[in-house]
């Protein structure tokens, strides 16, 4: 194997793309933080922000090597543990450490995505333990299967930027955590409405911005594939937004802001696996189609006892599955140089996509359940009813998002 030289244009683009994907995790914090009640704002946003620390470091220590170093079909080896041998030499056409850093941002946001299903009730310590372990035990192996030289990649599964690895994976975990924790005490008993819709719109906008790095960067270079992924990331969610708005108008006679923010995320999720594989027109069609199942899943879910509070399953699970399967339908070799989909004479691709989706869901659900039960042996996962009533900001963090300072008496610091 002759080492490829580092390409400067590729490196420049991947430096920018890494920063773009990093900002998606704070953006997710704003998206989720706006949708909960005021007394849980900080806790919800912290569930995203804390992943930047704990999950990122777990990735540097062990996650990266399990996902991307040479190993078996199922798991990477330990050659790159603690970033050993991860230096400035080329990995592809960019410095190895840049590749590892770029992939770290994916791991961080995937873990944070799960939090949408368990807001307003999970204790913070067990949550941090859960996402940290989850990033090692569940995320790293699945990333290896698809992108690290594992069995799904060898099978020919197409996942450009993480439809299975990121979105379906996080949503399957979200379903398990929501069921294991149970519903919030007020769920389906009283109206729980968003405290700050502008936060949610801000978050959706910043997610879209960051997603250009997420999808465009997954080409791992400044090339035509990146340009295709980039433009699909722009146009597909536009299609979703239009269809979602029309569905909103048909159902309630009004277009809603929370609906628009949700539509943008659904469109981004759906185009993720397809971004560098389908033509721009196919991308728009994919985005438009993806609006429908997610829209109706949200309507259906909110009538059930399943308190997937911020609809991770509808947005990321359903959106991700629709995207992954339609990738197997709409992919075109003349655009991606790799494989055609079912519509272009290769029905087998749809079958491969289906296998990737099902394998991801099963492994993620089992892994998530085992981790949760293990943590629950040591500490309770859920806040008490009283803590839930008072709010997670004060009980978990000793802070309030919107404090007037009335009646707050300064405690003089102990300089002892």
């Amino acid at each position: 194997m002759t080492p490829t030289p580092i390409n400067q244009a590729d490196t420049a683009w991947m430096l920018v793309a890494t920063a773009l994907v990093l900002v998606m995790t704070p953006a997710l914090g704003f998206f989720y933080g706006g949708l909960v009640r005021a007394k849980n704002t900080l806790n919800t946003m912290m569930m995203s922000y804390v992943a930047l620390g704990f999950v990122g470091i777990a990735w540097a220590f062990i996650g990266y090597t399990l996902a991307f170093s040479t190993g078996s079909n199922w798991l990477g080896g330990l050659d790159n543990a603690f970033f050993r041998n991860v230096g400035l030499d080329a990995k592809g056409t960019i410095p190895h450490i840049l590749f590892a850093g770029y992939q770290a941002t994916f791991c961080v946001i995937t873990a944070a995505l799960i939090s949408g299903a368990i807001v307003e009730r999970m204790r913070f310590g067990p949550y941090v333990a859960f996402i940290t372990l989850w990033s090692i035990v569940v995320y790293a192996p699945i990333a290896h299967w698809v992108w690290g030289g594992g069995w799904l990649g060898k099978l020919g599964a197409l996942d450009f930027a993480g439809g299975t690895v990121v979105h379906i994976n996080a949503a399957a975990a979200a379903l398990v955590v929501a069921v294991v924790l149970g519903a919030r005490k007020d769920y389906a008993r009283q109206a729980i409405i968003p405290q700050n819709v502008p936060f949610t719109l801000l978050g959706a906008g910043l997610l879209w911005f960051g997603w250009f790095g997420f999808n465009g960067g997954s080409a791992l270079g400044a090339n035509a594939s990146a340009a295709l992924a980039f433009s699909n990331t722009m146009f597909a969610p536009m299609g979703t937004l239009v269809v979602w708005s029309l569905l909103d108008i048909t159902r309630t006679k009004k277009t809603t802001a929370v609906g628009a923010a949700t539509a943008i995320v659904v469109g981004l999720v759906a185009i993720t696996p397809a971004a560098g594989f389908v033509s721009p027109v196919s991308g728009i069609a994919l985005g438009a189609i993806a609006a429908v199942p997610s829209y109706f899943t949200i309507l259906w879910r909110s009538g059930t006892r399943l308190d997937d509070s911020l609809d991770v399953i509808a947005a990321h699970g359903v959106g991700g599955t629709v995207g992954a399967l339609l990738t197997g339908v709409l992919a075109q070799k003349i655009w991606n140089g790799t494989a055609d989909g079912a519509l272009f004479g290769n029905p087998r691709q749809l079958g491969i996509q289906f296998v990737a989706v099902v394998a991801t869901i099963i492994y993620s659900m089992v892994g998530t359940f085992v981790i949760l039960k293990a943590i629950a042996l040591v500490v309770p996962l859920r806040a008490s009813q009283k803590e839930e009533g008072v709010g997670m900001d004060v009980t978990q963090h000793g802070e309030e998002a919107y404090s007037s300072g009335e009646g707050a008496i300064l405690v003089q610091p102990d300089r002892g």
Partner: protein, 122 residues
């Protein structure tokens, strides 16, 4: 006629409203207030600043009722608002000298009694 004033926990508001609705008490006003009823202070820290928050968020409910409704109203609030811990709040029952309904100019008892069909007129 009496004015029932209750100070309750904000997280109990929905349950209290439901209980009042079941007791057929219609027409009330709420406001968000802060107060202290002997419960322990919450400690909050913002970087180097640590504070004890002595005033807790509460909700104040005001209900003007005719005499026959005083007991059902108070009972509903006591039953739905209690957690058994310090900080559940208080209910005050005050005498009322005069009540007018602004829309019709009706006075006193008829002013605090919902007219038939009033709810559907909303």
């Amino acid at each position: 006629m009496k004015l029932v004033v209750a100070i309750i926990r904000p997280e109990k508001l929905n349950e209290v409203l439901e209980a009042l609705y079941r007791a057929e008490v219609r027409g009330l006003t709420i406001s968000r207030v802060r107060g202290h009823g002997g419960e322990t202070e919450a400690v909050e820290t913002y970087r180097g600043t640590t504070v004890k928050v002595e005033l807790h968020d509460k909700v104040r409910i005001e209900i003007g009722v005719s005499d026959t409704f005083v007991q059902p109203t108070v009972k509903a609030i006591l039953a739905a608002g209690a957690t058994g811990e310090v900080g559940d709040g208080k209910v005050f029952v005050l005498p009322v000298e005069k009540v007018y309904r602004i829309r019709t100019g009706e006075e006193d008892r008829s002013a605090v009694t919902p007219v038939v069909g009033e709810e559907s007129g909303v």
